[in-house]
C-alpha cells in the first residue's frame, strides 16, 4: 500500500482544493481546532489530576468524570474533524512531516492509556471513588495522560514551524517606510 499515493489523492480531492482556495476556510478550521484542543486538555487534565489525588480525594471521582468527560469528547470531536480537514488540505505535506507522525503516535498512546484505564484499572473504581487514595495504576494513568496530551499539543504546534509552507511566518514589514 503506497501511503504517499493515497495522500496525493486526498490532497487532489475537491474538498482539499476548496479549503486551499478559500481565504477564510483554513484560518477558521484552525481556530476551531484550537478551541477543541483547549476543551480536551482543560477537561481531561482536571480528571487526570483527580486520579493523582489533586486537590484531594474528597470529591467523588465518578462525579468529576460525569461532569467533565462529556466535554472532553465534544472537544475531541471538534479537534478530530478540524484536524482531518487540515490534513486533507495538505495531506502530502503532513504525511512526510516528522512532528505530525510523532503527534499521531502521542495521540495513539493517549488512546491506549485511556482504554487500559477504562477497561482494566477502573473496573473497581467504586472502591476508591471518594475519600480513599486512588491506586497506583490509576495515578499512573493520570500522569501518562497528562504527559501524552502535553506532547500532542507541543508536537501540534511544532508542525506549523516544520511543514515547509508556514502560516506563522509574520508578514515581512518594512518598518522604516510604513508611512
Amino acid at each position: 500500500m503506497d501511503l504517499m499515493a493515497i495522500a496525493q489523492g486526498i490532497e487532489a480531492s475537491g474538498i482539499a482544493t476548496a479549503i486551499r482556495d478559500s481565504i477564510y476556510a483554513g484560518p477558521i478550521i484552525n481556530v476551531f481546532h484550537v478551541i477543541g484542543v483547549v476543551l480536551v486538555f482543560g477537561t481531561i487534565s482536571i480528571v487526570d489530576l483527580r486520579l493523582l489525588g489533586f486537590p484531594g480525594n474528597g470529591r467523588s471521582l465518578s462525579l468529576v468524570t460525569h461532569d467533565l468527560l462529556k466535554w472532553t469528547w465534544i472537544g475531541f470531536a471538534v479537534a478530530a474533524v478540524t484536524g482531518v480537514l487540515m490534513f486533507t488540505a495538505n495531506a502530502t505535506t503532513f504525511y512526510i512531516n516528522t512532528e505530525f507522525r510523532l503527534k499521531l503516535v502521542a495521540l495513539a498512546l493517549a488512546g491506549i492509556n485511556m482504554f487500559i484505564y477504562e477497561l482494566i484499572t477502573a473496573r473497581h473504581a467504586d472502591l476508591w471513588d471518594k475519600d480513599v487514595p486512588t491506586p497506583t495504576a490509576a495515578k499512573l494513568a493520570g500522569a501518562l495522560s497528562l504527559i501524552f496530551w502535553v506532547a500532542v499539543i507541543f508536537l501540534g504546534r511544532w508542525i506549523g514551524y516544520t511543514k515547509g509552507f508556514n502560516f506563522d511566518i509574520p508578514v515581512e514589514l518594512d518598518l522604516e517606510n510604513l508611512f
Binding site: 484560518p27 482543560g42 461532569d67 510604513l178
Partner: protein, 173 residues
C-alpha cells in the same frame, strides 16, 4: 506603535529570541496549555452557575477550587505573551487581531475579577443556590464568550491581513 515595534525588534533580547528558532514554538506551546487551564477553569465555574456541573458543591467551593488556576495560568499567559511580543514585535503589535484580543482580554479579566469580588461579599447566599438566576447565567455565558473571543483573536494573529483585509494595519502602505 510602528516606531516602538521597530525599536523592540532591534533589541538584543528580541534578536536572541528570533535567532533561536525553537523559542517561539516552545513559548506558544506553553501559552496554549495555559489557555486550556484558564478557559476550562472558567468554563467549570460557569457550568456550576448554570447548574450543569458540580451540583454537589456550592458555587463558592467550585470558585475557590478553580480561581487560583485562572490567576496562576493567566500569569503564565502574560509572561509567555510578552515573550512572543518581544520575539516578533511586528507580527503582534501591527495586527488588528492582537489589539482586538487585548481589548477582549481587558474585559474578560475585569469581569472575572468583579465576579470574584461579588462572590466574596455574598458567600452565604451562594452556599444554598443550586442554579443562579437568569441574569447571572447570562452574564456568565457572555463572559465565557469574551474569553472564547480572546482565543479566536489570538489564533487569527497568524492571518491578520488575510482575514481582516483593510482593517489590518499590515496592509498600510
Amino acid at each position: 506603535m510602528n516606531e516602538f515595534a521597530a525599536w523592540l525588534a532591534g533589541t538584543s533580547l528580541s534578536n536572541t529570541i528570533a535567532a533561536n528558532l525553537w523559542v517561539i514554538p516552545l513559548v506558544q506551546s506553553i501559552h496554549i496549555v495555559a489557555i486550556a487551564v484558564v478557559f476550562v477553569s472558567l468554563f467549570v465555574v460557569v457550568l456550576r452557575i448554570w447548574g450543569w456541573a458540580g451540583r454537589d458543591q456550592s458555587l463558592s467551593a467550585t470558585s475557590d477550587r478553580f480561581m487560583p488556576f485562572i490567576w496562576g495560568a493567566l500569569a503564565v499567559l502574560v509572561i509567555t505573551g510578552v515573550m512572543m511580543v518581544i520575539g516578533e514585535p511586528a507580527r503582534e503589535l501591527i495586527s488588528f487581531s492582537f489589539w482586538a484580543k487585548m481589548a477582549l482580554l481587558g474585559i474578560g479579566i475585569l469581569t472575572v475579577f468583579g465576579f470574584q469580588r461579588h462572590l466574596a461579599g455574598h458567600r452565604e447566599q451562594w452556599e444554598t443556590t443550586l442554579v443562579a438566576q437568569p441574569s447571572t447565567r447570562l452574564l456568565a455565558a457572555l463572559t465565557l464568550l469574551v474569553w472564547l473571543g480572546v482565543i479566536v483573536m489570538g489564533r487569527l494573529i497568524a492571518w491578520d491581513a488575510r482575514i481582516w483585509g483593510s482593517l489590518s494595519p499590515q496592509l498600510v502602505g
